[in-house]
């Protein structure tokens, strides 16, 4: 088991290296050079002396391969460089942005797991009932609505309209920014914070919740037909134990896989959600820095996301062994 984890962690290294190197070279093929961008403008004329100074300061006048090796030499020591635009250290930006994203992400995943699995389970148990049909249509709808359209719809319903209708202050949700940024136990909002948190959290959770519900339903339907379910009933177990202990545990495997794979989707949704709600997290920072071509920020934040992605996938794989003891990690073929 330990050697499996170590092997997997070692495999992350080349993947991260090539992914980041690809992005590095991609941004160097961009038209327009970063030096003139730093000097002050996309199209404005830049004094050649200023441009030269900037190129020297950021090492942009060196040959590309030297810049490339310099970049990795710094990155290995977890020095992510300074932002071209704000001159701030990317490590600082990452630290503060990641906190906001993780808080939002925790709530989104909680919604995804609780609502998604509950709805999927009920749907499967009452197959073809009215509530099952409604769920089926709603989950399809949730996977088809663009994240930002849903975000604006919620803003309109729960923030814009309550303002126009003169609802009491506490019932008007907030749509812009993170608010007072007051938390307890890291992620539980205190004071007014929940009014800022609730809409982006729902928006971010939406797609993933729909997918989790769909997957739980499908996987549970399959499990319900299994022989061991009949055996469990024949043993005289209570129906609740049959479903929860024998059914759910077996049905969860594909759902956990999905939640792991979904992390990529969640990051995509996070970029759009955070942009829509001006939530100061990693997603909106990545979107802004890509538009501004702020290379150190793009590479630094992406590096963090790629590593997080790899670790989550590893955790997902490890959880298989817990859900299904027949799976032995690292032992080759499984049955």
């Amino acid at each position: 088991m330990t050697s499996y984890i170590i092997r997997r962690l070692l495999l992350v290294i080349p993947t991260v290296f090539f992914a980041l190197s690809f992005l590095f070279f991609l941004f160097f093929t961009l038209p327009g050079d970063p030096a003139s961008l730093i000097a002050g403008g996309a199209n404005r004329k830049v004094d050649p002396a200023v441009q030269e100074r900037i190129e020297a300061r950021y090492g942009l006048n060196k040959p590309l391969h030297t810049q490339f090796t310099d970049y990795w030499a710094r990155t290995i020591h977890w020095d992510l460089g300074d932002s071209f635009l704000s001159q701030r250290s990317v490590n600082d930006i990452l630290g503060e942005r990641a906190l906001a994203s993780i808080r939002l992400g925790i709530w989104a995943v909680l919604i995804e797991v609780v609502v998604g699995i509950a709805v999927g389970l009920l749907s499967a148990l009452r197959r073809y009932s009215l509530s099952d049909r409604i769920t089926t249509v709603l989950t399809a709808a949730a996977s088809a609505i663009p994240v930002f359209v849903l975000g604006f719809l919620l803003q309109w319903l729960f923030a814009v309209k309550p303002n126009q209708w003169g609802w009491p202050q506490w019932a008007r949700l907030r749509t812009q920014g993170i608010g007072p940024n007051s938390w307890t136990l890291f992620f539980i909002p205190t004071g007014d914070q929940w009014r800022y948190l609730i809409l982006p959290a729902i928006t971010l959770a939406c797609v993933a919740t729909a997918l989790a519900a769909r997957m739980t339903r499908g996987s549970m339907l399959e499990v319900l037909r299994a022989d061991y379910m009949r055996t469990a009933r024949a043993k005289g177990l209570r129906e609740r134990d049959v479903i929860m202990r024998h059914g759910m545990r077996n049905a969860m495997l594909p759902v956990v896989t999905l939640i792991g794979i979904d992390f990529g989707t969640v990051i995509g949704a996070a970029v759009l959600t955070e942009t829509t709600f001006s939530w100061p997290g990693l997603g909106s920072a990545i979107a802004n820095s890509v538009q501004a071509r702020d290379l150190p920020v793009i590479l630094g934040l992406t590096l963090a996301v790629v590593i997080a992605f790899a670790i989550i996938n590893l955790l997902v794989d490890l959880s298989y062994a817990w859900f299904d003891p027949r799976i032995r990690l690292g032992k080759g073929e499984h049955s």
């Binding site: 709808a141 803003q155 594909p254 970029v271």
Partner: protein
């Protein structure tokens, strides 16, 4: 499939993609049967009808609108009226006209980019699964590396390199969207290449290209068709996201995502600027989801 393989963890047993290659043993249903089962799915039929209407609207756009996409009136941000069915935008353009012409943009990007990604995914997945060995390792590694980059970061990054136009978006989405499909096709080819009829074809001395194209591909087609259908919707959704993040087609182009982005400042006083293009994206993607689901159930009734 072994768990130690780095590519495997996200595709164990093919569960996330229920249209895997496990059922290839049974006879393929006749086309008429598929249509019969598809027809019974009301949502899929509704999706198909909506899609047909949308395609007609896109083709006959000049006949069903009375303005051009750049024509400005003197009323700004006015709500829906008899002169402007969907109202006017911030500089007085007719929103209905722009939404209808926007269907051309979205459908073109959706179909062309999907054609591109299906072609790349099928060819690379087939080569990878059929030949195995070094080329397989190479392709699997490349897929792993690109899947390690969150899709939207990759797409936004490449989009900012190719420039901001419809064709650039087609290239971006086509070049980044094939990864998952290649894995599915690879898995199908891996399991199909050891079946008796493939061995028989090999024994008969057919070339490997012929075996891949004529013997294996037809049996691996089912998941490809379903994936391709849902992909068109997914591509349209991604295109909207890129337009929204301002790395898609630029202003006079009536891309729906761009229209939503342009309207976002007017949420409180002119919500129709966001509502109509937003609803257009939603309904179009939903239609493809329903059609894709219907096709999957019709092609393989066991999975329902």
């Amino acid at each position: 499939m072994t768990l130690v393989e780095p590519g495997a963890p996200t595709a164990i047993g093919g569960q996330p993609e229920p249209t895997g290659a496990e059922d290839m043993g049974e006879a393929r249903p006749l086309r008429a049967d598929v249509w019969k089962r598809f027809r019974r799915n009301h949502l899929a039929i509704a999706g198909l009808i909506f899609l047909i209407l949308l395609v007609l609207a896109a083709i006959f756009a000049p006949w069903i609108t009375s303005y051009s996409i750049t024509e400005r009136s003197t009323s700004y941000r006015t709500g829906p009226s008899s002169a402007h069915w969907f109202g006017t935008d911030a500089i007085g353009r007719d929103v209905y006209t722009r939404v209808v012409y926007g269907a051309r943009v979205s459908l073109k990007i959706g179909f062309v980019a999907t054609f591109l990604l299906v072609t790349i995914g099928v060819v690379l997945g087939a080569i990878s699964g059929f030949f195995g060995g070094g080329i397989d390792t190479l392709i699997t590694r490349v897929i792993d590396i690109f899947l390690a980059i969150p899709y939207i970061v990759l797409a936004v990054a490449i989009a900012s390199v190719f420039g901001r136009s419809e064709n650039a978006v087609i290239l971006v989405l086509g070049l980044t969207g094939w990864l998952a499909l290649a894995r599915i096709v690879r898995a199908s080819f891996l399991s199909l290449k050891n079946l008796e009829y493939t061995e028989a074809a090999t024994a008969l001395g057919f070339s490997r290209n012929r075996i891949m194209a004529r013997h294996i591909l037809p049996n691996a087609l089912q998941p490809i068709i379903v994936y391709g259908t849902i992909s068109v919707g997914a591509v349209i959704l991604s295109e909207a996201a890129l337009s929204f993040l301002n790395v898609g087609p630029q202003d006079p182009t009536p891309a729906w995502g761009l229209m939503v982005a342009q309207g976002k400042g007017s949420l409180s006083n002119a919500p129709h600027l966001l509502f109509f293009p937003g609803a257009a994206i939603f309904l179009t993607v939903l239609a493809f989801v329903f059609i894709g689901d219907g096709l999957r159930d019709a092609l393989d009734p066991k999975l329902k």
